[in-house]
């Protein structure tokens, strides 16, 4: 009866949170997508934070009746359902002096927030509502408020207290005037507003009224508002009505899914937090297949020596299929009779500008014109004539990648192709820094240490660390030291941070940088993060040598892989950034094996010139491709490699990088099979005696001597846990001994299934010992499945029964501490065994003996003589032996510099 009442109340509570449907979306408009093939449109609408909408559905149809959802946009809901708590009113009342006046008959209203003046006060009181509180974030779209009106506006709450008194506020569009002897800032050509500052005689600006003020955002005061204010999201009126004045424009681009010149209808459905919906009126659009626009910038560079013409253009059109370059006689304005020079695929001018090179064409330009026809996908054309020709001369064309090879990418899913080129190259830069300043960066600014009284004192060029116990002695300009980094500083010593970048294709197996400063030992930067720090470098000039090593640490022989650089370490911490080549590379690919014009290839990827490899994630269904790479100079030169290919991508059936894992896995499986099967056959496999077992026996003996019971805890895990199984094996041994010595054994269990099995274990152990009478069923019992309650209960047993020996064998968690603490304080002998690494430290410090991890399993295998367990243990031993040998050989090889061996273990996927 009672429950029903509670449920009813609950249901009421939740239902009351329901509320009506959300507001329909405002101001829905749909626009055509510019410069496209008439296949896209953009829908826009307005959203008010806090209007209870959690998502908008975008619906589309060819008539207003057949609309279907095409997408959904989730929006932020700042509204939480807490009750509106009236503010501590004294803070706010009267400070705003603003009234809300709504214009319009129904929602959405236009809100006017009007500042009250003595003249307007009476009329405002009649037509408006006084604002009690301004909200910069909406805390609750809640039921405590009678009514929520949504209004337009963009207001800012200004925190005038934050404006620094001595700061002159630069507000664009405002000027200083004087009014009745008081200087004040006035917006140009506007009525003065009183929230801005006055100028004190001492050239200081401060505000007449401090506290909070509100202003509507206009372009004039935008900077001011954003610096000293926060956007107003809502206001609370004197009758606790909340008015939201915040809007966000949302838009959805419906791309590439329409047919040109057919009518589409869109509507937006708002989905409320309560999942109720309301929808906007439908809006319609007929997407237009825009004709190509004449190219806004088409110009050419003419190499006056070679007479090569470099054409350059770009476009905003998204649907150009190709460009055709024509040459024609001067005066041919019709652009129809020209001779076709070159076709260029549309993608070459999209995003980046297109550049093409027309060799030796310059000579014929005197009596000819060049023009470009842009053809879009629907066959519409626009013509642009070349008007600007800039004479220039290129000494050389940008260098092309050397030794370019295209291959199937190995070990992938037959998806990708890889382009590789040469040579392995080192790029270098450096940075000099003070160890101190670097250390200081890691220290928060606000802290103050009273016990470390060290200061950094700068005297001219040199710096010293000085200790001052009295803060008054600290000279001006000395900087307090928060934290020092090792190594020690010698006066004038600097840290030289060498920045390097290594580029080589993966077939060369690039590895590390070997750095050498002056005549010092060469060092190999193991971590390969692109920087290496030489510390304690004295001021002066140094010679830095960097070599590029492969993964086996052999030096690459080519000159680009060996760089020498003069490093100038000076007191002002110079920085020399890495200088990269200015060339860019463009990868072009085609699946049309007949095509020979590179400009009709697909543009694949734009790459910086220092790269030596590009993996092409080919996303078409074709299998065979031809490639070419173009090199660009930012000054306008362009050159292209010959066409490479065709290359075919093939799926591989074996991952060549995983051979080590394969061999290791085979060895593992073989070792396991051999050991387990020979154990099964009954072959004797030696396991060393585990010291812990003697301790177990002694502990049982001790309990017998004292005539007190033994406690055995099996851990908190289930029966499927190996640790629990091992615990049960040892329980069998303990139970047998205890039965022989006639000592009572208590086994409180955490898991009912473990308890059942524990009972069986003890029963049969007692029978084995010839003392079935020693099996006391009530001493093996289930306690509870609550972690801490279990621990508390077991502690109670320890204290009540005064157990002489406690065993903890199995899987333990945080409760281990509680258990062993009580046992330890009670003076019991405690023996533990677990593989829970996090609990082992507590067992070690609180117990008399602990079986650690695998030792625990070994003890269990040794005691049970279970053949599979022993076989498993032996198989693991075999592998451990192999690992130890490998580590020893590997260590020696690494020390001797024989990296070939170590790299066998380096798996590349």
């Amino acid at each position: 009866m009672k429950a029903r009442a509670i449920l009813g109340a609950l249901a009421l509570f939740f239902l009351s949170c329901g509320g009506g449907p959300p507001r329909a979306p405002f101001e829905v408009i749909v626009e055509d997508y510019p410069n496209d093939a008439g296949r896209s449109a953009i829908v826009k609408w307005e959203h008010f934070a806090g209007n209870g909408v959690k998502a908008y559905k975008i619906m589309r149809g060819t008539t207003p009746d057949n609309m279907r959802e095409i997408s959904q946009i989730s929006v932020e809901i700042p509204a939480t359902r807490d009750k509106y708590v009236p503010p501590d009113t004294t803070d706010f009342v009267g400070k705003f002096g603003y009234y809300l006046v709504l214009e319009g008959e129904k929602e959405p209203f236009t809100a006017h927030l009007v500042r009250v003046t003595p003249e307007t006060e009476d009329s405002l009181r009649k037509i408006g509502k006084r604002i009690e509180k301004i909200e910069t974030e909406i805390k609750g779209y809640n039921e405590g408020v009678k009514k929520t009106i949504i209004a337009y506006g963009n207001f800012y709450k200004l925190y005038l207290d934050n404006v620094k008194e001595t700061e002159l506020i630069p507000v664009e569009g405002y000027s200083l005037t004087e009014e009745a002897g008081v200087p004040r800032i006035v917006p140009n050509g506007r009525t003065p507003i009183t929230f801005v500052a006055v100028k004190k005689p001492a050239e200081e600006i401060r505000f007449i009224h401090s506290g909070e003020r509100m202003a509507e955002l206009t372009p004039d005061i935008e900077g001011f508002c954003k610096k000293y204010g926060e956007q107003v999201r809502g206001v609370i009126l004197e009758d606790s009505v909340r008015v939201l004045v915040n809007k966000v424009e949302l838009e959805y681009s419906d791309e590439d899914s329409l047919c040109p010149d057919s009518t589409y209808y869109y509507k937006i459905v708002s989905v409320g937090i309560n999942r109720k919906e309301s929808e906007s009126e439908p809006v319609s659009i007929k997407p237009i297949d825009d004709a190509p626009t004449p190219l806004p910038s088409l110009y050419a560079l003419l190499d006056t020596v070679t007479n090569d013409l470099f054409l350059n253009w770009k476009t905003q059109d998204e649907d150009i299929q190709k460009y055709v370059i024509y040459i024609s006689t001067a005066g041919d304005l019709e652009h129809r009779k020209g001779r076709k020079l070159l076709e260029v695929a549309g993608s070459w001018a999209y995003g980046y500008p297109a550049v093409v090179r027309l060799e030796g064409l310059g000579a014929s330009l005197e009596d000819s014109i060049i023009y470009v026809a842009s053809l879009d996908t629907s066959g519409q054309v626009a013509y642009t004539e070349l008007s600007t020709i800039v004479p220039t001369h290129f000494d050389s064309m940008p260098p092309l990648p050397e030794g370019l090879v295209v291959d199937d990418l190995e070990n992938d899913n037959g998806k990708k192709l890889v382009l590789r080129w040469e040579p392995p190259t080192v790029y270098l830069g450096y940075r000099v820094r003070d160890p101190i300043s670097e250390a200081k960066k890691l220290v928060p600014k606000s802290v103050d240490i009273s016990s470390l009284d060290y200061y950094l004192v700068t005297e001219g060029e040199s710096r010293k660390i000085v200790e001052f116990e009295n803060p008054n002695d600290v000279p001006e300009g000395a900087k307090k030291i928060y934290w020092l980094q090792t190594p020690t500083l010698r006066e004038g010593d600097k840290e030289l941070v060498v920045l390097y970048d290594l580029y080589a294709n993966s077939a060369r197996k690039p590895g590390y940088a070997m750095l050498r400063l002056d005549d010092g030992e060469p060092v190999v930067d193991e971590d390969g993060d692109g920087s290496y720090i030489f510390s304690g470098v004295p001021i002066g000039k140094h010679k830095l040598t960097v070599d590029f090593l492969d993964e086996n640490r052999r030096v690459f022989e080519n000159p680009e892989a060996h760089v020498e650089m003069e490093v100038n370490v000076t007191a002002d911490n110079p920085e020399v950034p890495i200088e990269y080549p200015s060339v860019y590379l463009e990868v072009a690919r085609t699946s049309d094996l007949e095509e020979t014009n590179i400009m009709m290839f697909d543009r694949v990827r734009f790459l910086p010139g220092m790269l030596r490899e590009y993996t092409d994630p080919v996303d078409t269904t074709k299998e065979e491709f031809k490639y070419a790479v173009l090199a660009w100079d930012p000054s306008g030169g362009i050159s292209a490699t010959p066409i490479i290919g065709p290359v075919r991508r093939v799926p591989n059936v074996y991952h060549t990088g995983k051979t080590t894992v394969l061999i290791a896995t085979i060895i593992f499986v073989l070792a396991a099979l051999t050991m387990i099967s020979s154990a099964k056959k009954g072959k004797h496999l030696y396991i060393r005696p585990i010291a812990g077992i003697n301790h177990v026996d002694e502990a049982i003996g001790r309990a017998t001597e004292m005539g007190r019971p033994i406690l055995y805890v099996l851990g908190l895990s289930t029966i499927s846990d190996i640790a629990t199984l091992a615990g049960l094996t040892i329980l069998s041994r303990v139970a047998k001994k205890a039965a022989e010595y006639q000592t009572r054994l208590i086994v409180p269990c955490y898991n009912p299934i473990v308890m059942t099995i524990a009972k069986e274990t003890v029963r049969s152990a007692c029978a084995d010992a010839g003392r079935p009478d020693m099996f006391k069923e009530r001493d093996i019992f289930f306690v509870t499945q609550s972690q801490f309650a279990y621990a508390a209960a077991v502690n109670g047993i320890m204290l009540r029964e005064k157990t002489a020996t406690n065993f903890y064998m199995g899987m333990f968690f945080a409760e281990s501490l509680l258990l062993t603490e009580t046992g330890s304080a009670a003076g019991s002998i405690q023996i533990a065994g677990t593989d829970a690494i996090t609990q082992l430290p507590f067992f070690i410090t609180t117990c008399d003996y602990t079986l650690i991890g695998e030792e625990f399993y070994a003890a269990s295998a040794y005691l049970s003589q279970n053949r599979i367990q022993i076989g498993t243990l032996k198989a693991q031993d075999v592998l451990k032996a192999i690992m130890m040998v490998l580590i020893i050989i590997g260590g020696i090889c690494a020390t001797a510099g024989i990296w070939r061996f170590v790299n066998i273990f380096h798996i590349q996927v």
Binding site: K54, A55, S71, Q72, I73, S74, V75, E76, P78, E137, L442, V443, P444, K445, S446, V447, D448, I449, Y482, W483, D527, A825, I837, T838, V909
Partner: protein, 275 residues
Amino acid sequence: MDFWKRLLNIDRRIIYLVIAITVIVPFFLPTGWPINVTYEVKNIYDYIENLGPEGVVLLSADYDASTLAELQPMFDACLRHCFARDVKVIVMSLFPQGVGLAEISLKRIAKEYNKVNGVDYCFLGYKPGGSIIIMGMGSNIRIPFPSDYYGTPLKDIPMMKDINNFSDIDLVISFSGTGIVASWLYYAHEPYNQDIAWGVTAVMASDYYPFLQSHQIVGLIGGMKGAAEYETLISKPSLATSGMDAQSWAHIMIIVFIIIGNIGYLAMRKKERRM
């Protein structure tokens, strides 16, 4: 009863009281000792610092409320750092309890930085299954996560347009108090060379140094101290930094307890031997 025996047998509730006071008082008498930053944490910071607006970081909140105090500050700090650097963030969880904590925190911090759902960050939510989710994400994020937490299909989320699997994500940071972090190593780092970092409870932190040394993980944030280090690095001191004074004093108190306990133990053992 002799002195040591009596001293060691005081009621444990007195010890509880002492440790409670040791923890509470420093909040009112702060020392403001500086927090030194370890390389384990700084590695992660540097990694994110070097990412640009095209960078994508996946934060996996694989924890529950029981380790909230340690892991939530880390999650918050990393999230703040990503947002401050305009790095795109994907948040998910392999634990049902983690998704709630992550949601609350994500909403709050996104607002601090004016970040928009779907554009600057994406909240994938939770899927049950643990490591199988990570495996699926390696093939395609859309296998385990066809839609985000709020039910929006991933194809409609602008940020997720070009993000298909681990090759489109720069760094994965898993925050967890369980061994699930290892699954990220086995199923994200190893097969796909995905850079990963771990934010773990202090309990587990020391066990993971071998993976740090072998460069299998980028960095390791351990416990509340690790979180405080991260807060220091991004100069946004928050919960973890506030807790550090209490942590310091509590550690001293624990060490004092151990010393008293052991002196007593030795004294009593000596006496027993004499007898």
